[in-house]
């Protein structure tokens, strides 16, 4: 029952991958830099996460083709946490303790991140998390390259309020923490902007909900009160198709009650009959249809890598693209892949994003992003109808929640605190514990 055996074949596996890759002959004889990839390759999340694994492998291959980093080769270490949340923690521990990787790119769901978080902090690893999330978290060891609520949800609501003239709001979501938190923030935000309680309807459904008849009919009712109504949807994954179908069949189209979704991207659309969705909205920080050369180059290399002419790109892929380049830049800057050095070096690093601008790592470990609103088209792409005039920096702590209003996060010396309370002037509980446990 030796625990070494799983690691040995993995090394073989990685080596095979590398030999397939265009390996640069000029690379130094030093040990490779190990990049851990922690995405589910089986189970329910494999749908979304396995493409992110491929994205990482592609980025690593490209980097190696350019001579690696600091003259050292990059070696991907792929593990499969199988959409099983406790397994995420176990596999993260394996990556950090057994395989001794220098950085981990991974996770999709909030719960998997929460599961991994204590492990990454305990073993002082680096984790790049590429998906939009609910915020309310800041860790010294985690870099959030996806959108915080203020980089997606809030601007989308702004757009609907100011550009579309929406007065009545349905906040519909799947019952888990991301929609709950996002809707809490939006509710507070809407009320701050003078929306009455009666004009907000909140609804939660279970994962994979497929019978939307009642809810859609309620939405139709709610929307027939003489005020422009919109649905802000944090409905997750599989529940979306039946939801939009029901909307379409009950005769509600985007002109009547537009739906703005935060979890519907190109990849999700690729598995849907898009007809009922056309005209509905989505808010992201990247769309495949963005008309820039860097984006077209990225898409072309993705298509070449996958060999699938119809392969799509999406927002979390861009987040990995940015995260990987930031990390690589920070390693170059620090001159080493050593975690603490990279952690300090990466703050302030700017790399190009795919939408024609730059992304910068902020001291709170979130990055700057433009916010785009796109309309769904029948080809499964988005046509961009609005974007923020400049990039928005991610907030770890929302300004609209009572518990976190006074918290800020700054991981630069000398503060080094993820939840500094500006009113009380002290660093909050989590960090104390950190200090206590280090001592």
């Amino acid at each position: 029952m030796s625990s070494h055996s799983p690691a040995v074949p993995k090394r073989l596996f990685a080596a095979t991958l590398l030999s397939l890759a265009v390996s640069a002959p000029a690379m130094a004889q030093e040990d490779p830099i190990k990049v851990g990839i922690l995405h589910s390759l089986s189970g329910t999340m494999a749908i979304s996460e396995s493409t992110l694994k491929d994205t990482m492998l592609m980025l690593i291959e490209q980097q190696n083709a350019q001579g690696g980093l600091l003259g050292r080769e990059l070696e991907p270490v792929v593990v499969d946490p199988a959409s099983d949340w406790p397994l995420f923690a176990e596999k993260a521990r394996q990556l950090l303790a057994q395989d001794e990787v220098d950085v981990i790119f991974g996770n999709w769901t909030s719960v998997s991140r929460k599961s991994v978080l204590p492990v990454v902090e305990e073993l002082d690893g680096l984790l790049f998390y590429p998906v939009q999330y609910e915020g309310e978290e800041s860790s010294e060891n985690v870099f959030y390259t996806g959108a915080a609520p203020n980089q997606q949800a809030v601007p989308a609501v702004d757009y609907l309020m100011n550009e579309v003239g929406v007065e009545r709001w349905v906040l519909a979501g799947t019952d888990y923490v991301y929609p709950r938190t996002t809707n809490k923030i939006l509710e507070a935000y809407l009320k701050d902007h003078g929306v009455a309680d009666d004009d907000i309807m909140v609804n939660y459904t279970p994962f994979g909900h497929s019978d939307w008849q009642n809810i859609v009919s309620d939405i139709a009712d709610f929307g027939s009160q003489g005020k422009k109504t919109a649905v802000v949807s944090t409905i997750n994954g599989d529940a979306n198709v039946p939801f939009y179908r029901e909307l379409g069949n009950q005769g509600i189209d985007a002109a009547d009650i537009p739906v703005v979704a935060f979890s519907v991207g190109e990849q999700e659309l690729s598995g849907i009959d898009t007809a009922p969705l056309v005209g509905h909205l989505a808010a992201w920080n990247y769309f495949m249809s963005v008309d820039t050369d860097t984006n077209y180059d990225f898409i072309d290399s993705w298509i070449d890598y996958t060999g699938d002419e119809m392969a799509v790109t999406n927002d979390p892929m861009e987040a990995h693209y940015i995260g990987f380049n930031m990390w690589a830049e920070a390693v170059r800057k620090a001159g080493t892949a050593e975690v603490d050095a990279v952690k300090d070096a990466i703050i302030g690093v700017s790399v190009p994003n795919l939408t024609g601008g730059y992304a910068t790592m902020m001291p709170n470990h979130h990055i700057t992003k433009p916010v785009l609103i796109g309309e769904i088209q029948d080809n499964g792409q988005f046509s961009i109808v609005w974007e923020t005039p400049s990039t928005v920096a991610g907030d770890a702590w929302s300004d609209y929640l009572p518990g976190s209003r006074d918290l800020i996060s700054d991981w630069r010396a000398p503060m080094r605190c993820g939840n500094y309370n500006v009113v009380e002037g002290r660093c909050g509980g989590g960090a104390d514990a950190e200090v206590a446990s280090v001592e």
Partner: protein, 380 residues
């Protein structure tokens, strides 16, 4: 008292139990020594990562033993044992959450973080008391025990058995999963409970605590095994098997079949709860996923593979399947479900008695050979 002590100690006089305990305790000692004494980097060193992994396997093994008690000896195939496991886990998780105290990110002295950001202003009633270890440990037993008692009372009274019982146990765990996914329930919804800091004052991140949990799991497995063996070897155990093989006959002999079933079912549920409570601090998270029907069915596979009706078989099954899972998901993730699915088919079609049955029949054949040869010699 004397009588009760004697029924509990009965298994200690059995050779099979002595061997099982001997192997288990020796393995615990060896891994502990390899972890503590052999320096890191040495090929024989067992890392804390491995120790934690083994601790997880051991808690799964205890769950498998609990399931085997009801399936192997009582003939009740519970497809919802994950529910009891998860309830025990949640009871432990709630204790661990309360231990965080004001070290959560929001620094609230009482409320766990997820309650703070969902605007709860006070602790729900069912969270009270979980700051005390004794209460939480009691709940680890009582929560699954009570659920099993109520559910079992209703089901066995109405003589819901066989396939029907299996299907409604599955419905039970499915309903609980949906319920625990609801954030209104106050158990952290999909995210569950996580970010634990310490257990009984010991830092959960320290290697010593992890080793301690590993040993605790091993001891719990040993105790659980002895308890189950004691039940199985008692007259009650024989009555259980009687219920399994000929329920009506047992009833006509004057036994209250439903009470026997209820008793064994509740004991099994409590053991499953203990397994869950040991599992949670080692993996660091408990969430509604543990309630998923698939997990419960997987547990059944462990027992089936090891050999139902032999408690040591359940332990072997749990260890083998989980070790295989660790290896497979590391080496060729896509193949894991094929392997697991294939295992289900192969075990039920070709190995209905599991590995233990295979071993037993091999042994029997050897014994027969051995005993027949001289007999033939004598007769000729």
């Amino acid at each position: 008292m004397l009588a009760s002590r004697s029924w509990l100690s009965r298994p200690l006089r059995e050779r099979s139990t002595q061997i099982f305990l001997g192997v288990l305790l020796a393995a615990l000692a060896v891994f502990t020594l390899l972890n503590l004494i052999v320096p890191a980097g040495h090929p024989l060193h067992v890392s804390t990562y491995t120790v934690t992994l083994l601790g997880k396997y051991l808690s799964f093994a205890l769950l498998a033993v609990a399931l085997d008690l009801v399936w192997g000896y009582l003939g009740i195939l519970s497809l919802g044992h994950g529910a009891f496991f998860a309830l025990g886990g949640y009871a432990m998780g709630m204790y661990l959450m309360r231990q965080i105290g004001d070290r959560g990110v929001y620094g609230d002295p009482v409320l766990p973080d997820f309650m703070v950001f969902l605007d709860w202003d006070s602790l729900p009633w069912y969270w009270h008391g979980f700051d005390m270890a004794w209460f939480a440990l009691l709940m680890v037993l009582l929560a699954p025990g009570l659920l099993a008692l109520v559910f079992g009372f209703l089901a066995f009274r109405s003589r819901v058995t066989g396939v029907y019982l299996s299907i409604i146990t599955q419905a039970l765990t499915f309903a609980l999963m949906l319920a625990f996914f609801r954030n209104e329930m106050g158990f952290g919804g999909n995210n569950g409970l996580t970010d634990f800091k310490e257990l009984l004052g010991y830092d959960l991140r320290s290697d010593a605590t992890r080793l301690g949990l590993f040993l605790a799991s091993g001891l719990a497995l040993a105790l659980g095994y002895v308890l189950c063996r004691a039940i199985v070897a008692s007259k009650l155990g024989r009555v259980s098997m009687a219920c399994r093989d000929a329920e009506a006959r047992t009833r006509f002999l004057g036994y209250r079949v439903e009470r026997v079933q209820l008793f064994v079912f509740v004991v099994s549920a409590m053991l499953a709860g203990v397994a869950g409570a040991l599992y949670v601090p080692q993996v660091g998270i408990i969430n509604p996923g543990e309630f998923s029907p698939i997990f419960s069915i997987e547990v059944v596979l462990w027992v089936a593979l090891g050999g139902r009706g032999t408690l040591y078989g359940a332990v072997i099954g749990a260890l083998v399947v989980n070790y295989a899972k660790t290896v497979f998901t590391g080496v060729m993730p896509e193949a894991w479900l094929f392997a697991l699915g294939g295992l289900f088919v192969v075990v039920t079609v070709l190995l209905p008695k599991g590995v233990a049955g295979l071993l037993a029949s091999l042994r029997r054949r050897r014994d027969d050979d051995a005993s027949e040869t001289p007999a033939q010699g004598a007769s000729s």
